[in-house]
Structure formats: structure tokens, C-alpha cells
């Protein structure tokens, strides 16, 4: 074994001598490059992970630890009280359940509809196709904030062709109900739906036409071809889109605040956590007190951790679905 190795290293110097020093030079270059790469990547990974690590260490500290300059990263008085308090403030159990139900159902609905639309754009020729696809691009481009004002009023005084006005004499107030958001999701106008349509269309375009024609020749109808032939093929891109839809819905603040204000969700309750901490303190102490910045931030970090915990678990299990399938499906212009 050692002899073989010895021979190999001898061989290396021999070869090096023969190549006039070129081999050694090249070897050194490779090693230096990989060391540089390691340092760079390590630094950047640390940069990304550091806030999370910081939050984890802060979330286990008591209030005195936060102000103790000697305590760095590792808490002196280890406590889980922050978690209990944050859970109580956010109404964690209920919020988690609500968020889970809403995110799941919305993601399923959005991806189903977007798949249909994306397939329609990719595989059919019809008049005005380019015009409608330009509209999809427009939907991606228009920030939802532009139309938020009007949507706000639209659902405040909701009416389908004046029917409700006719029957009940007044319009329906759909604010603080879940229905508008489901309606929007079912018609591709939810969070980043234009992007999903675009990605799914790009995927279906790359499937060879012969596959579809063979199915038609064998007597499959349009819908049957879509379900039997195309859908099983599209599993990777659908998984990524579904995961994105789920995660973005989970953390979304804008649509949740606008349409689901009445429902207790993790994202909205997290953004309110500092205020509810103030209210809680006031209730307990009986007087209006100002909470220290450090403590409210510790609670905020704890709450953030509790919210991203399910996402991190999901990410660990479905990491391949997030990264690999998206990059292997090849998004091209």
C-alpha cells in the first residue's frame, strides 16, 4: 500500500519533471482555488445562517442575560419561558392550525388552476394567445399594492352583476371573510400566481409533441391526455410550485392582512406580537409600562423561530423538491 503510494508520488515528481514544472504549478493552482472557494462559501453560509443562530441563542435567554455584556451567545440562565410567553401571545396552537389549513388549501387550489392555465398556454393554439400571455406577464409585473385600494372597496361592497342589490337591497360585505381570497386564488390572481403560470408553461412547452399526438391517435380526449399523460410527467415542477405556494402563503403578510384579517394566522399574529406583549404586560402589572427593547426583541425572535420551525422541517424533508427539481426543469426564456 505504502509502496504503491510512494511510487505514485515518485511518479508525480517524475511527471512534473517531464512537464517542466507545469504539473506542479497546476496542482498548486487547484489547491489554492479550492481553499479560496471554501473560505468564500463558508463566509457566505455563515452570513446567511448567523441571524438564525443569533435568534436561537437569544430565545433561550432571560431578561438579565440580554443586558449582561459578559453573556455572549450562550445564555447564563437557561430558560424556555420565552417560548411559553410567545406561544401564549400568538395564540400559537390555533394560529398554527388556521395557517396550516389556509396555506394548504390555498396552495392546492392555486397550483391546480395554474397548472390548467399553464397547460393551456403551452399546448394549444388559439386566437389572441399572445395577447393573453402578455396579460400574464402584466399580472406578474403589477404590484398587488396598486389595486389593493380598489379591491378593498370591491369586496367591501361585493356584488355579482347587481344580483344581491336586487334580492337583498344591499351589497354583501365580504371584508373579514375568507371567501374573497379563495375566489381570487381560484382565478389565478393570488400571491405570485403569474409566476407559477409562467414556470408551468415553460415546463410543458419542453415536452415533445409526439407524446401528445400518440395519445390523441390512441383515442384519448384532450382532458384525458392532460391527466394521464402530461400530469405524471410534470410532477417535479408541480412539487416545486406547490412548495413555493405553501411557503409564501405561510409567511405572507400583505394578502393575509387585507383579506384574512379576521382569521388568526401565524404571519399576522407575528407582526402584532410586540403590541400584544405590551397589552399583556399592562394587563398583568395593572399599569402602563414600557417594555425594554431587548426583551421585546427576544420575544420577537422567539416568535419568528416558532413560525419558521415548521418551514425548516418541511425544507429538510423536501429540499430536493425545492432546489433540484426547479433547476433541473430548466426555466428558459
Amino acid at each position: 500500500m505504502t509502496k504503491a503510494k510512494h511510487k505514485k508520488s515518485n511518479d508525480f515528481w517524475e511527471r512534473n519533471r517531464k512537464s517542466g514544472g507545469y504539473l506542479l504549478q497546476k496542482r498548486i493552482m487547484t489547491v489554492v482555488l479550492s481553499i479560496c472557494r471554501f473560505i468564500l462559501l463558508f463566509g457566505m453560509c455563515f452570513l446567511i445562517l448567523q441571524p438564525i443562530l443569533n435568534k436561537i441563542s437569544v430565545s433561550f435567554m432571560t431578561e438579565e442575560d440580554l443586558y449582561n455584556p459578559l453573556v455572549f451567545s450562550i445564555p447564563e440562565h437557561f430558560t424556555t419561558d420565552n417560548y411559553k410567553l410567545a406561544a401564549q401571545l400568538m395564540n400559537y396552537g390555533k394560529a398554527l392550525k388556521n395557517s396550516l389549513i389556509i396555506s394548504l388549501s390555498i396552495a392546492v387550489l392555486q397550483i391546480t388552476v395554474c397548472t390548467l392555465v399553464g397547460y393551456g398556454f403551452a399546448r394549444f393554439e388559439f386566437p389572441l394567445k399572445n395577447f393573453w400571455f402578455a396579460c400574464v406577464m402584466l399580472v406578474i409585473l403589477i404590484p398587488p399594492q396598486t389595486i389593493s385600494t380598489s379591491l378593498h372597496l370591491h369586496f367591501r361592497f361585493f356584488d355579482v352583476l347587481g344580483l344581491s342589490q336586487l334580492i337583498r337591497g344591499e351589497t354583501i360585505n365580504l371584508r373579514n371573510s375568507v371567501l374573497p381570497y379563495y375566489l381570487m386564488s381560484a382565478t389565478c390572481m393570488g400571491l405570485k400566481n403569474g409566476l407559477y403560470i409562467y414556470m408551468i408553461r415553460q415546463f410543458f412547452r419542453n415536452i415533445p409533441k409526439e407524446l401528445e399526438e400518440a395519445a390523441y391517435v390512441d383515442g384519448c380526449g384532450t382532458l384525458k391526455t392532460f391527466i394521464r399523460i402530461m400530469l405524471p410527467d410534470a410532477k417535479p415542477i408541480l412539487t416545486s410550485c406547490f412548495l413555493f405556494a405553501f411557503v409564501w402563503q405561510w409567511t405572507d403578510g400583505f394578502y393575509s392582512k387585507m383579506f384574512l384579517g379576521g382569521t388568526n394566522l401565524v404571519s399576522t399574529s407575528l407582526s402584532r406580537i410586540v403590541d400584544s406583549l405590551g397589552a399583556y404586560m399592562q394587563r398583568i402589572l395593572g399599569v402602563k409600562t414600557t417594555i425594554s427593547v431587548a426583551y421585546s426583541n427576544a420575544i420577537l425572535s422567539t416568535g419568528t423561530l416558532m413560525i419558521i420551525l415548521p418551514l425548516i422541517l418541511l425544507y429538510l424533508f423536501a429540499q430536493k423538491g425545492f432546489v433540484e427539481s426547479l433547476s433541473s426543469s430548466g426555466i428558459k426564456m
Binding site: F126, P143, Q145, H152, T222, V247, Y315, G330, M333
Partner: protein, 302 residues
Amino acid sequence: MKKQKNKLAGLQRRKAVSGYLFIMPFIIGFLAFMIKPLCQSLYMSFCDVQVESGSFTMVPIGITNYIQAFRVDPEFNRLLVEELTRMLYNTLAIMVFSFFVALILNQKFKGRALVRAIFFLPVILSSGVMLGLESNNSLISIIQASMEENASGVSITDAIQTILRTAGVGTRAFEKVFEIIDNIYDVAIASGIQIIIFLSGLQTISSSMYEAADIEGCTKWESLWKITFPMISSLFLVNWIYTIVDFCMRSDNEVIDKISTVMIEQINYGFSSAMSWIYFIIVIVFVAISSLIISRRVYYYD
């Protein structure tokens, strides 16, 4: 012959109909929840909207809202300019950073899967509400400020800045670069999707091209600019547009923040519509011009 042509037309018509059926949900949604609110909000921006219980009235008042946005409101102009410049140089930084990272991640080395997973983590962890909270996290900023105070001149960017200044190089040009480097965290967490898009592009370049270049005596540096860069240039366009749009919708965007404050707290629908239209039009024009410039330089292989 004639009959066959007819039949083909029939098949085409059937396909067209089923195509329309497939995209029907989108058309309905687009008309009901995009065009209608868009027109309404455009109309509203020229109106004084009063909301009473049960109904709302719109009184047309011309371009008063727009004048108010530009001439009366103390903050709006400043916020708009600030956000747009921030958008410009952040987008540039994100493009460079994500291209660079994608190049590194496309190489083969140990632990690549882990590094990829970490780089993609921000897509999940810094979306939606989390982003706004992150920038508001005053504890961290207080700690940072105190650290900077203690270590003034010790940080690398400060040192380089001092050196450059004493060497007589104009500082103004470098200020933005230093600002970006100091905010590298913001850039890193905003470029997850862009990295993935670049990676997917890099993987489609066939290795035979590099081999041919290598045999012809091309160095790695040359083949980067002569092969890699043109081959994925179309993705620069995609990423550029995506980054700008993403930036517009971020929850820590101050213009958006102002619009929603005016809308929800002050219940001034007309004024907030006017502001959002100004913002929207500026962004669209910006996207259109910049993508026109980029698309001229895009190289299509086939």
C-alpha cells in the same frame, strides 16, 4: 381536398376551444380582479372618495391628488427617489452576486448539496412578514451600532475606505460600493431565486463547448466571457425583471408602506391610489427601458 381542409379547420377550432377552456379561469380572474380594480383605482386617483356606512361616493376632482403627492406631501418625493435609487443599485448588486454564486455552485466540490441548501434557505426564511421584521429588529441594529463604535476603523471596508481616501481616490464613486458591501446580508438573502435561475441556465450549457474551447487554447477566464456569459445572457433579462418586481413587492418598501398607511389608517382612498399609480408607472417605465437595453445585448444560441 376541400373536405380535408374543412376537417382540419374543425380540429383546429376544437383545439382552440379547449385551449380557451383551459385558460378560462385566468381570463375571468384577470377581468374581474385585475382589469376592473385597475380601472377603478385609476378613476379613483382622480376622485375624492368618501366612505360612509353602506356605500361610497366618488367626486371627480381632477389631478388634485397627483398635485398633492408631488407638491404638498412632505415625504412622498423623498421616499420615491430613495426607494428607486435603492432599487437600482440593489438590483445590480443582486445580479452580480447571484451570477457569481451560481458560477461557484456549479463547480464540483465536497458538500455542494449542503451549500446549495443553505443558499436557498433565504427564499423561505425571508419572505413576507419576516423581511419587515428583520429590518425592524432594533436589538440587532443597536448591537451592530455599538460594535461599530467600538471597532471604528477596524472593519475592513472602513480601512479600505481610509486608504483610498488618503490615496486621493474620489470617495463618491466608492461610497455606493461600500454601502452595498456593508449590506451584503440584504443582497444575499434577496438572491435565492436568481441563483437557482442562473444555475438552471448553467446546467444546460453543453460541456463539449468548453472542451472545444479548451483544446483551442482558451483560458478559463476567456471561456467565461466568450461561452458562459453569452449562453445565459437571456437569463439576465429574466432575473433583472424578477428582481425589480420582487423589490417592488417587498414589505419593507417605504413607498408601499406609506400607501397602505394612507389607505388603511387615514382612509384616503383617492390619494393612496394616486400614489400607487405614480409608483407603478415609474416602475413599469423603468422595467421597460432597462429590459429593452438588456434584450438588445441578449444572445440567442438557436
